[in-house]
Symmetry: none
DNA sequence: CTCATCGGTAACCGATGAGTTACCAATAGC
DNA sequence: GCTATTGGTAACTCATCGGTTACCGATGAG
């Protein structure tokens, strides 16, 4: 399962947030949620398969840890969706590129950034 | 639908990447994928409901555009999962990278900080 | 007006996913 | 050795999702 699908579930996101504080056992993780332990187990397995978590067997306990490198595709996508790297040859003129670069670093206000051509 | 679930589908991610180059019509977006146009329509509606896209009706055409502010929860999660808060309080957000920018922004009333940070 | 294009909706289907209960293997503690 | 704890697996149910085809309304072009 890819990381995006893994992040689609709110329980799994909560698990990852919990793991961000450090490795944890399954029973401790399961105690924080109203769903059954096998459900947590399955979520953890999914997270492991997605590359977002890693496991370490310690006796009869199992310690899951957050694997941050698995988040690379996510931050990659965010990077891809950032402003506009290439030339938009079809819809926009080439002139607004300069404007876009000026506005690239937003100010302090809470404005939405839509670089539509206002000319 | 929340943005995470919206990003779980590869077609929707591809649509967002396409929209990153600029607004586009439904028929043009659909032409790039082997699935039917109604399927694309549904994906676009989902993306709009998830806050990741916006629509503008222009005559009989419909122009979808990428709405980057809808990605805030995603980059927020990435921020939460970043390295290890040295002494993790985790109750309130706003530590780590954001402190360098906000001096004393008390988030009592509304805490909608919608912006991507430079990862 | 007539017709083609654009695009949303409805109804349906197959696959997948998230949850459950029941069960079992293995380790730790007595 | 016996028992409790930890945690994975199996089998199942139910809901949702992604896709399809068929259809419809609206707009623009001739």
């Amino acid at each position: 399962m890819d990381p995006f699908a893994a992040l689609a579930d709110p329980v799994r996101r909560a698990l990852l947030r919990a793991l961000a504080a450090g490795p944890a056992r399954v029973v401790d993780l399961a105690a924080a949620y109203p769903i059954s332990r096998p459900a947590i187990s399955k979520h953890l397995r999914l997270l492991t398969e997605a590359g977002l978590a890693s496991v370490e067997d310690r006796g009869r306990e199992r310690h899951y840890a957050l694997n941050r490198s698995g988040l690379a595709p996510v931050s990659n996508l965010l990077k891809e969706l950032r402003p506009a790297p290439p030339f938009a040859e079809a819809a926009l003129d080439g002139l607004d590129l300069e404007v876009r670069r000026t506005v690239r670093e937003r100010s302090t206000s809470r404005s939405d950034h839509q670089q539509e051509d206002t000319a």
